[in-house]
């Protein structure tokens, strides 16, 4: 079932706009919990863009891992730690000019790329009806790129065990 092009573009601008608004609000919000909620919104909007690109598996992994797992821990820690002290201090750093300069440089680069018509800006668009591709993700992860995938997994495991060990040592 092909979705009309206008609807596609509409979805994209909706999710992209939502992500940008949430990201800005996350930085601007005064309360830390509000910031966390806006971050959740930004992550969900990004997941929406994945879905619009027909990357179902990526979409669901984004929701499960980032929104359902990592952000729950974030919120948990925010509530666990007493943030009243931090909230009373000055929240915004004074590196305004540096930040502004960086933003101008990055924006200029983006405009330049658009101006010289870099290939990234005129891709052929989303394939209209991609078959369900979860099985293909599995094939490439567990067959084509088996070794790099396993190495990455073991590295993450080592990092996790190391973190637990270091936390334990400070405890004792």
């Amino acid at each position: 079932m092909a979705t009309p092009m206008a609807l596609q573009i509409g979805f994209f601008y909706f999710f992209a706009g939502l992500a940008i608004v949430c990201a800005i609000m996350m930085v601007v919000a005064r309360s830390v919990v509000h910031s966390a909620i806006y971050l959740i919104g930004a992550l969900l909007a990004t997941a929406g863009i994945y879905l619009q690109l027909r990357a179902e598996f990526l979409f669901i992994v984004q929701v499960i891992l980032y929104v359902g797992g990592i952000m729950v821990l974030f919120v948990f820690v925010i509530m666990l730690v007493n943030l009243d002290v931090a909230a009373r201090q000055r929240q915004f750093s004074k590196q305004l000019w540096l930040a502004l300069l960086l933003a101008v440089v990055l924006g200029g680069q983006l405009l330049l790329m658009a101006h010289i018509d870099a290939p990234i800006f005129n891709s052929t668009g989303v394939p209209q009806s991609l078959p369900p591709n979860t099985a293909e993700v599995a094939t490439s992860l567990f067959q084509t790129y088996m070794l790099p995938f396993e190495i990455a997994s073991i590295m993450l495991l080592v990092a996790m065990v190391g973190a637990v060990l270091m936390a334990k040592r400070r405890d004792a």
């Binding site: 179902e56 929104v67 948990f76």
Partner: protein, 449 residues
Amino acid sequence: MSHETLNAIMPYFLPVFYGIVIVLVLPLLAGYIVLLERKVMADMQARLGPMRVGPHGLLQPIADALKLLIKEDIIPEKADKLIFLLAPLISVTMALLAYAALPFGPVFQIADLDIGLLFILAISSLGVYGIVLGGWASNSHFSLLGAMRSAAQLVSYETAAGLALISALLLGGSLSMKSLVEAQDQAGAWFIFFAPCGFFIYLVASIAETNRAPFDLPEAESELVAGYMTEYSGFRWSLYFLAEYANMIVVAGIATTLFLGGWLRPFASFHGHILGTGVEILDIFPALLFLGICGYCFWRAPRQPVPIQKLVMVLVGGLFLVLAVVMFGSLFVPVAMPGIHGAFWFLAKVLTYLYGFLWFRFTFPRYRFDQLMKLGWQFLIPLALANVMGVGVAQILRQQLGWNAFAAFGLTLLATIGVAAWLVTLNDRRDRDQAAAAAAAASAPAGGD
């Protein structure tokens, strides 16, 4: 409306219709599960339970819903207003959204997603935000403690539940809920017989995930008043309640689909026909069951104390008569038969699973929080890992080496039980060592090292 637009709209019509049916029926179903819970609890405690509103309390859920609707809605003065109002909505929306991928029957499913199971897991893991944010926004210590317990509990038990579900995925070879049931049809047996340990782990983990007793620490009434719901009242409180019961049905639906054969009839591969007709003998059971309930209602009706209750009892009997006629009549309509009977068996299995929830609630006392964490991290997760490996090995033995299914999965079961016994002794010894160390530290002279 032109023919073309009609054709473009039609594929969306049935899912929208199913969605509306689910949203309308679910609160009613949740209300009657509450009544069932109170009745079962009363029975196990040798009481009668609700008896006044309608015969045997049959109209109690409706009276309760009306009472909740007209109760005063209180918002604490120092609460974070917006989040306080939003939190119950998050809970209930996520609980309802999960139904989009749940297959009630071969046709009665809103969407057969390629990632169906992951979708349900993802959506129900978002439901915790309703609890956590509600507890935080209430600006009350009891609520905050309940919310934090809930977050810790959910994150801990999601791992065990996910690993338990993987054992069924290995057997079914798909993430789509529909293909998982079809795989069980082809295998000729429900996956619970192949991976009973996976089912057991999911049963325990799903009780913890839905915050039900004996794992109801987020709302432990003897310690935290009502946990994260302490400051909520009236309709918002009932939204949390609805979300809890909707989530219970979702986890029961997941277990039914993955381990109990979904909409398949028990003995689905037995096709004994009644002489001279195309009707299978076992398909008559639902009609007979409803007919029996109908007869019981009619028999009890004259024995009700008040005339209006007699009338209600007769009406309930009539309702079951209609259901019996539908179940029996659909046997002769090949188009409607799989859908209607599939939904019956699915709901029957879901209710059986939920009866297990109630049974646990009235049997086990509440766990302490450290016991809950120990059970999750030191027993269920290692056991689930062993179970996944065992089922994987059994699949290889069966498919690559041509082993008999009984031998392969029997061996896996024995190995997993062995791991469970080893874990129990290991945890016991560690507990004893810790207790001994604590006792030694306590008896040591103060200041000494």
